[in-house]
């Protein structure tokens, strides 16, 4: 089975071939024999060239693979199947900044700082959100015009909920 690892737009191909004790792995011209023991769901023991790695792995739909290593660090691995890699190339050319400002976490809207029709600068605070006893500002991604605000003071917001939409200055002329 072949996978493509995506890192900063660079693609690296990994080829897995099952063997009795685990997998033969080919990556970037190198070959590794990897002994694999699955301990529980998402918990693997890998022995690679004599070195032992205990891994904990977690994956959410649409998010990268999260891999915890014995060095205590978490690596995020973006992995594509060959089909997904092709689909990504098609999508790439059509992507544009939407200007939708979303809350990256659930919380409570403390204050909406801007109104529809207002000009804002890149980095200017639009909305203050409180979560976990901390107040955070959601800022405009670019210089532009506030097209709409979708929340009011005191309301709750879901993770990824859109709080405001900003239209890039000059975007209408293009």
């Amino acid at each position: 089975m072949r996978y493509i690892i995506l890192k900063n737009d660079d693609e690296t191909v990994i080829e897995l071939s099952p063997i009795e004790t685990g997998y033969d792995v080919q990556i970037g011209g190198e070959k590794h024999k990897v002994s694999v023991a699955k301990i529980t769901d998402g918990a693997y023991s890998l022995i690679m060239d004599g070195k032992s790695f205990e891994l904990a792995i977690h994956k959410e739909q649409g998010e990268p693979y999260i891999v915890h290593l014995p060095d205590g660090a978490i690596r995020k691995v973006e992995l594509l199947t060959p089909i997904e890699a092709v689909a990504r190339k098609h999508k790439k050319s059509s992507g544009k900044g939407s200007g939708e400002v979303k809350s990256p976490m659930p919380g409570r809207i403390v204050k909406v700082l801007v109104a529809k029709g207002q000009n804002v600068k890149a980095g200017e605070a639009l909305v203050v959100v409180e979560a976990m006893k901390m107040q955070n500002q959601l800022v405009s991604p670019f210089d532009g015009l506030v097209k709409e605000t979708r929340v009011k003071d005191g309301e709750s917001v879901e993770r990824n909920g859109v709080v405001a939409v900003v239209e890039k200055t000059g975007a209408a002329d293009q």
């Binding site: 790439k92 990256p104 980095g123």
Partner: protein
């Protein structure tokens, strides 16, 4: 004799208190909000009662409901933990009025220390060194400017009612004063319901060192040594240790004696902590008193061998202190790291979520206080503290290397945490040398902290996981391409 204790708290501290209650053979009563039905403190307690909605203002801050439950369940005492109602003198008073023992100081003692300007005045009168500044809250930004010029820039604005860095601003010049005063005041108002702000001379690159004390009801007191708490970000402690590498025997004794004197001045009983600001010449100034159990109390427990909750309960029962100052000796070194649900690479943005996997570190010299469990949710309603990891060693070096090992062993998946950041922090040469102050984290984050490098094992592991998961579910379509969604690139500030 206390036979049954209600714990007016949640999370790791509720769990920690219940454990000592069990050790003492005392029954425990938990309370919980809507979202906490599955929480571990509810499951481990002997009894548990629902007290309201998930917002803390509807549950853990509801004195009336908590006291009702105490009466209904026949609890003879309430332990408030830290945060929530722990430093609320009205709550202590309500307990006193109902004949319920409040495991903490009396309501007048909490009141005396509760408001910072009042405490500063009292301490100055009692001969405890305080940072030069105003003794009363400032009336307006005009007065702020005038006082700042008298004291001399830089100055620090602080919320009179507050703590935990809320309503706090460093002011470097006259031009910044008005804006800083207004924002500190409004932040203080929203956090504590009191917009009062006072001013102190700013001590540049101070250390934050605190002294743990125990006082019994007859006024006998002991000091149990200091905790070094200078590793802070935005005035929130991140790493603590006991003892402090900056404090020698003589300074420790002086700080301890001042701390007991400060407590005695307000008729304090039970466990308490005096926080000191320490300048580079080892001058120390009273900052505030925390009239409760501290988050970081386990490092003191590790070097003294005491159980502070146990001592709190004995004091609350009215017993004499079982330890004398002359019996006190510190043994070895202890470090605590606070693991938070937050993302260091995005300016420590809170990262609530569901924990998918947890593996708690084990083995020699490691203690973990945590309420986390696989499948449990870290919600945005409460503090983002997930776990406290405490490591002990015969000396500082041993304690720090054990901590490093414990953090590496600690697995929490499903949400972002600062665990890797913590490990890099304690591996830094300045930390290893014990040479750091409260400005360290900001500089470290700006100049040195980097995300981990690529790892072959991680890449191969992810592929194997993907392959074996797909093999198990052969009819699944391939997921849509993992194109990053737009919100990830957005900037957050605070």
């Amino acid at each position: 004799m206390i036979k049954k204790v209600l714990i007016a708290n949640r999370g790791e501290i509720a769990l920690r208190i219940i454990r000592t209650l069990k050790d003492m053979g005392i029954e425990s009563v938990a309370v919980y909000s809507d979202v906490d039905r599955n929480s571990r403190h509810v499951r481990i307690a002997d009894e548990a009662y629902h007290i309201g909605g998930s917002l803390s203002s509807e549950s853990y801050l509801r004195m009336d409901k908590i006291i009702d439950v105490a009466k209904k369940s026949g609890a003879d005492a309430i332990h408030p933990g830290y945060g929530f109602l722990s430093e609320n003198d009205l709550f202590a008073k309500a307990c006193e009025d109902e004949g319920i023992i409040f495991i903490g100081p009396s309501s007048p003692a909490i009141h005396a220390m509760g408001e910072k300007t009042r405490a500063r005045k009292l301490m100055a009168k009692a001969g405890v060194p305080v940072v030069p500044g105003t003794l009363d809250p400032l009336k307006d930004s005009k007065e702020a400017l005038q006082k700042a010029e008298e004291i001399g820039f830089p100055v620090m604005l602080k919320a009179a009612a507050g703590g935990g860095g809320k309503g706090m601003r460093l002011v470097l010049s006259g031009a910044e004063t008005e804006q800083a005063f207004l924002s500190a005041s409004s932040e203080a108002l929203s956090a504590f319901g009191d917009g009062g702000v006072y001013m102190e001379k700013a001590i540049i690159k101070p250390r934050h060192i605190e002294m743990q004390i125990l006082m019994d009801k007859s006024g006998r007191g002991v000091w149990l040594g200091e905790r070094e708490c200078s590793m802070q970000r935005r005035h929130q402690k991140v790493v603590e240790e006991a003892p402090s590498p900056f404090v020698n025997e003589e300074m420790r004794r002086k700080m301890g004696e001042v701390a007991v004197k400060a407590a005695r001045a307000v008729g304090y009983s039970n466990a308490g902590t005096i926080e000191f600001l320490v300048d580079q010449e080892k001058n120390f100034y009273f900052m505030e008193m925390n009239t409760r159990l501290q988050v970081e109390h386990p490092v003191t427990e590790a070097v003294t061998g005491l159980d502070l909750v146990w001592e709190q309960i004995k004091i609350a029962e009215g017993r004499e202190l079982s330890i004398r100052q002359s019996d006190m000796s510190l043994r070895g070194w202890a470090v605590e790291c606070r693991v938070y649900a937050e993302d260091p690479s995005r300016n420590f943005m809170p990262s609530p979520g569901t924990v998918s996997t947890v593996r708690i570190p084990e083995g020699p010299r490691v203690r973990v206080d945590s309420a986390v469990y696989a499948g449990g949710e870290v919600t945005s309603y409460y503090d983002p503290l997930i776990a406290k990891v405490i490591a002990w060693g015969r000396d500082r070096r041993m304690a720090v290397s054990t901590m490093k090992r414990a953090l590496r062993e600690f697995v929490i998946l499903g949400l972002e945490t600062n665990k890797y950041f913590l490990e890099k922090l304690i591996s830094h040469q300045s930390f290893l040398n014990g040479e750091y102050d409260t400005s360290f984290i900001a500089e470290f984050l700006e100049n040195e902290f980097r995300e981990p490098d690529d790892s072959l094992a991680a890449n191969i592991g992810a592929c194997i996981y993907a392959y074996e998961t797909a093999k198990k579910r052969p009819h699944d379509c391939p997921s849509p391409a993992n194109v990053k969604s737009s919100w990830k690139t957005m900037m957050w500030k605070s």
